[in-house]
């Protein structure tokens, strides 16, 4: 690795209440992690979901372009993986390498997985992880206090839910053949939302093999930070 190294990270379905340990490992090895300010995921008041997925791509690309980081490697987790895959498929010049961590975007009727938003809100976080819910997710936005914290959590969930409602399939299977460069596909074998079998649909459509992370749930970089960081570091080093 030489010179200034950076990659963009697009967060998962529960937002990014704190830097993930995996990203911190990478930051410790000299990578600058650029996290764009995605509308709604920050819990800020006044958020209105875009009318449709094209609207989402527009606001996400605006946020990405505002960072000034592109072109560079892009890492996307969960819903962020879906957005990252479309960025690479539709703006290939912007993405020098693509790492997808259990991305949404392709739904498999034979493996529907858990409908996160058909759970009471208080029960959702436990299903995103194979291990204990990491502390930052126990009380997301808790720093805003007992009145505004729950509202911010709600807004964050509105953003994520509007991206994936009702199935989390935005037709990515029909576009991922356009992925231009090197792609890494990681998947937790304990993913309740997107069962590991769904990864086969990505492999079929994109021609990318899946690398399984044992003992990890949907937000796998939180369940297995060292392993995910290692695989990301190796992949990014080859960019």
């Amino acid at each position: 690795m030489a010179g200034h190294q950076q990659f963009v990270y697009l967060c998962g379905i529960a937002g990014l209440p704190a830097p993930s340990p995996a990203l911190e490992v990478l930051a410790g090895t000299g990578w600058e992690v650029v996290v764009p300010d995605l509308p709604g995921f920050d819990g800020r008041a006044g958020f209105q979901p875009p009318d449709d997925y094209l609207g989402w791509l527009t606001v996400v690309w605006d946020a990405l372009d505002a960072t000034g980081a592109l072109p560079c490697p892009v890492v996307g987790a969960s819903v962020g993986g879906m957005l990252a895959a479309d960025l690479a498929a539709l703006r290939p010049e912007a993405v020098s390498a693509l790492a997808l961590l259990a991305p949404f975007g392709i739904f498999d009727e034979t493996h529907p997985g858990l409908d996160l938003y058909a759970l009471p809100a208080t029960e959702r976080m436990a299903h995103l992880f194979a291990k204990d819910v990491p502390e930052p997710f126990v009380d997301r936005f808790g720093h805003l206090g007992p009145d505004e914290g729950p509202v911010a959590r709600y807004i964050c969930d509105v953003a994520a839910a509007s991206l994936v409602w009702p199935l989390g399939d935005r037709g990515n299977a029909r576009r991922v053949h356009r992925l231009p460069g090197p792609t890494l596909l990681l998947w937790g074998d304990q993913d309740e939302l997107l069962p590991i079998a769904v990864s086969a649909r990505w492999t079929e459509a994109a021609g990318v093999p899946v690398e399984i992370v044992a003992g990890a749930g949907h937000l796998l970089e939180w369940d297995a930070p060292e392993e995910v960081a290692t695989r990301l570091a190796e992949f990014l080093a080859g960019d």
């Binding site: 979901p49 009318d51 938003y117 058909a118 009471p120 509202v151 709600y154 839910a161 509007s162 009702p166």
Partner: protein, 415 residues
Amino acid sequence: MDTRSWSRPTLSPVKLLWFHLMPYPELPDDFNKKHRSVWVDIDPGLFDPDVMADCYERYSDQLVHAEECGFDGICVNEHHGNGYGLMPSPNVMASVLATRTSRVAITVLGNSVALYNPPVRVAEEMAMLDLLSRGRLISGFPVGTSMDTAYAYSVNPGTLRARYHEAIELIMKAWSATEAFPFNGRFTQMRYVNVLPRPLQKPHPPIWIPGGGSVETWDYCSTNDFVYAALSYYGHLMAKETVSGYWRRVEANGKDPNPYRLAFLQFIGVGDTDEEAYRLYKEPAEYFFNRSLHVYPGYADPPGYVTEASARARYRSQVRTVARAKQAKHDLTWDEMVEKGYVVIGSPDTVRETLTDVARTFNCGHLLTMLQFGNMSDELTRYNTELFGDKVAPGLRGLFADAEDHWWPANARAA
């Protein structure tokens, strides 16, 4: 045929409407123990089509019977994948009722317009119903519950309300436009909007908006001069906060406190005596509240279904949280249902006194009576309806006789 506009009203006393949910009456005794939810993913194997065919016949007869008993209007509504409300298309049932009745308002408290694309289909069917009923239609436009919209019909809750408002805008314009027009909405684009037939009532049938208690809906109703129909199943005591909140927004929006701006739903059981009513309505009430209202809590809170303002208010409201928690346990006793006002029961005098107080306190000119609920038999339903019509309704007729109902169909007539 009189085709006068409902916007030119006459003085009229309180309106009494008979509301039917059309429940499935044979859910098993252990339903709430062995099944997760009465809604969305309820086991279709529980439903016998022959039983439901009999129900449709019996229930539509009951609605016709309400006209014979002197009620001013009859009501149908819309639910999907629901074991206590088996009218996925209220318009189908309303078309039956429009031709089997001659006097009452046909009150369709569906359609959840955001579910239909293009929404002009709703404009067309409402116009047909207005013609079939010869100008007796009330057109209700609920947002729809989260169960119906976000889950049973998979509409994105984050854009549901924007779709809803746009759909109503399109329908209203389609009813009044003098020529075909293009519509370039955020969710619906049409080159040619030309709804035929048009409604008989001009400029359009009265618009009622069923709602649960959001500030946005109160403002939407009052600023657009639509009726707000408070449709909680939990009775008048629980509804006080909702109704007072609505009237505060009416005042804040500079509108008059006309009692006919409001409709309110109440479960009711009338007997010859208080004791008889207590005995008669226990079983159907327990069936409804403890068995068929068994809704999986996960379907109540899809992100985006309520606005940020309503979410903020909800997180600060202890009252509703407690009520929900209690209901979710399915352990309500009959005494609790009565005490909390979920069901108003008693002799004709008792019921009349309570409803008079409710109507006056709420300043409510449209009383929606739920006189069939749960697994109530046809015989008891008719008994309840007849007692109400004969002995309760006359005592309510003096209410609001000096007010003008701007929201009543042109050709609906009193008995």
